[in-house]
C-alpha cells in the first residue's frame, strides 16, 4: 500500500493547497480539493486516514480540533461531509454519504450561557480565531460499513450507526441506529428493517 505523499498538489485542484503531513491517503483514493483540509488543526500525527478507492468531493471539510482523528474506509464515497471533530469519527468500508452532511462529535460550546461568554471572549485574542471549548464534551461517532446517509443529515455526538443501514435525507440522528434498518426524520426514528439475505460481510 502506498499513499499520496505529504506536500503533493493535485492537478485538478482549484485551491492552492497540498496534502497535509498528518493525512494518510491511499494513492488510489480521490480527493477533489485540498480546500477540504484548510480547517485541519489536529496535532495527531495520524489525524486523517482515507482508504483504498475512497473519494471525498468538493463539500467535504475536515474541521478537526487538536486531538481529533477521522477514519474513512475503503471504497467509501464521501460527497460533502463537514467533519466537526474533537475526538474521533469513523466511516466504514463501502459507505456512501451525500452532500451537506454534518458529522459532529462535539458541540464546541458549553451548554451554560455564562461559560459560552467566556469562550467567546477568548476568540478575538486566539491565534486562529477559532472557538474553543475546554474541557471538550466530545463523544466519538462510528458509522459502520455499507451505510447510506442522505443529504442534509446531521449525526450527533456519541452516535453509532450499524452496518447496512440507511439514514433518510434531512434526518437528525440523536441515538444509535441498529444494523440493517432505515431511519428518517428530525429527530430520526426507525422506519423499517432491511432484508439482508444476500449481503456479504462488510
Amino acid at each position: 500500500m502506498s499513499r499520496l505523499l505529504p506536500g503533493t498538489t493535485l492537478d485538478w485542484d482549484w485551491y492552492p493547497g497540498t496534502i497535509p503531513a498528518n493525512a494518510w491517503i491511499d494513492e488510489t483514493a480521490y480527493i477533489e480539493t485540498t480546500f477540504s483540509f484548510h480547517l485541519l488543526r489536529s496535532q495527531d500525527p495520524d489525524a486523517v486516514h482515507i482508504g483504498r478507492g475512497a473519494a471525498t468531493y468538493l463539500g467535504t471539510m475536515f474541521d478537526l480540533g487538536p486531538r481529533a482523528r477521522v477514519r474513512i474506509g475503503d471504497f467509501a464515497f464521501v460527497h460533502g461531509v463537514w467533519f466537526i471533530s474533537d475526538s474521533s469519527i469513523h466511516i466504514g468500508d463501502h459507505s456512501m454519504l451525500s452532500w451537506n452532511v454534518v458529522l459532529m462529535d462535539t458541540y464546541r460550546a458549553s451548554r451554560d450561557p455564562v461559560e459560552r461568554r467566556r469562550e467567546l471572549e477568548r476568540v478575538p485574542a486566539s491565534d486562529d480565531r477559532r472557538l474553543r471549548h475546554d474541557p471538550p464534551t466530545d463523544r466519538a461517532i462510528t458509522i459502520g460499513a455499507n451505510v447510506w446517509v442522505g443529504f442534509d443529515v446531521v449525526v450527533m455526538p456519541g452516535v453509532t450507526i450499524g452496518d447496512g443501514s440507511i439514514v433518510g435525507a434531512k434526518s437528525v440522528v440523536y441515538g444509535d441506529v441498529e444494523p440493517f434498518t432505515v431511519v428518517a426524520g428530525n429527530p430520526a426514528r426507525l422506519v423499517r428493517h432491511l432484508e439482508n439475505s444476500d449481503v456479504a460481510d462488510g
Partner: protein, 187 residues
C-alpha cells in the same frame, strides 16, 4: 487570521460603505457581500470582537441586519428583506439559514406575476407584495449547524437550538429545542 488590534475589516474585499464593523471584528469569505443590495444606511452593523467566517450577507434593498459584540457565525446564510437583529454572544453554526421573508407570494396568481417580474423580460416590472417579518435573536443564544430560522421568529435569551432544527415559532428564553418543526425538550 490576524489577531492584532484593528478596526473591523473584511479580509477578502472592500466593504460596502453602508456597513459598520466594530473593533476587532473580522469578516472572511470572497462571496460574503455577493448578494448585499441594501440601500439603507446602515445596511449592516456588527459590534466589536465578532467573527463572521464564511457568512453570506444576502440583504435586500430595503433591509438591514444588526449583529452584536462577541458573536461567532460560521458559514451562516442571512437572507433579509426587512430586518434581522442578532444580540451579543450569539453562536450560529455551519449552513444555518435565517430568513425574514417568504421569498415569493403564496397566492398562485401572484406567483405568476412574481415569476414574470423576476424573468429576463421583467425589467422594470414591479414584484407583488411578499410577506416578511423581522427575526430577532436575543443575547447568548446558541444555534447549531444546518438549522433554518423562519420569518417573524424571536429566539429568547440563552436559548439552545439543536443542529438541524427548523424554527417556525418563537422560542422562550432559556429553552432547549430540536426537530422539524422545532419543539421544546422537557426541562
Amino acid at each position: 487570521m490576524r489577531n492584532d488590534h484593528h478596526p473591523g475589516l473584511w479580509m477578502d474585499g472592500e466593504l460596502p460603505p453602508n456597513c459598520r464593523l466594530g473593533e476587532r471584528t473580522v469578516v472572511t469569505g470572497a462571496t460574503a457581500f455577493k448578494r448585499f443590495h441594501s440601500r439603507r444606511d446602515p445596511g449592516l452593523t456588527i459590534g466589536a470582537n465578532s467573527t463572521m467566517d464564511g457568512v453570506q450577507f444576502a440583504i435586500g434593498a430595503e433591509a438591514t441586519v444588526s449583529i452584536g459584540d462577541f458573536c461567532y457565525l460560521t458559514n451562516a446564510v442571512l437572507l433579509a428583506e426587512l430586518e434581522i437583529s442578532i444580540g451579543r454572544y450569539v453562536i450560529i453554526g455551519w449552513n444555518t439559514t435565517i430568513a425574514d421573508t417568504d421569498f415569493h407570494p403564496l397566492a398562485p396568481a401572484l406567483r405568476i406575476q412574481d415569476a414574470r417580474a423576476l424573468s429576463p423580460l421583467g425589467r422594470g416590472m414591479a414584484r407583488p407584495t411578499i410577506a416578511r417579518a423581522p427575526v430577532v435573536i436575543e443575547d447568548d443564544v446558541w444555534i447549531g449547524p444546518s438549522c433554518t430560522i423562519l420569518k417573524g421568529v424571536r429566539i429568547g435569551r440563552g436559548a439552545f437550538i439543536e443542529p438541524g432544527s427548523v424554527v417556525t415559532r418563537d422560542v422562550e428564553p432559556g429553552a432547549h429545542v430540536l426537530g422539524n418543526p422545532a419543539r421544546e425538550v422537557a426541562r
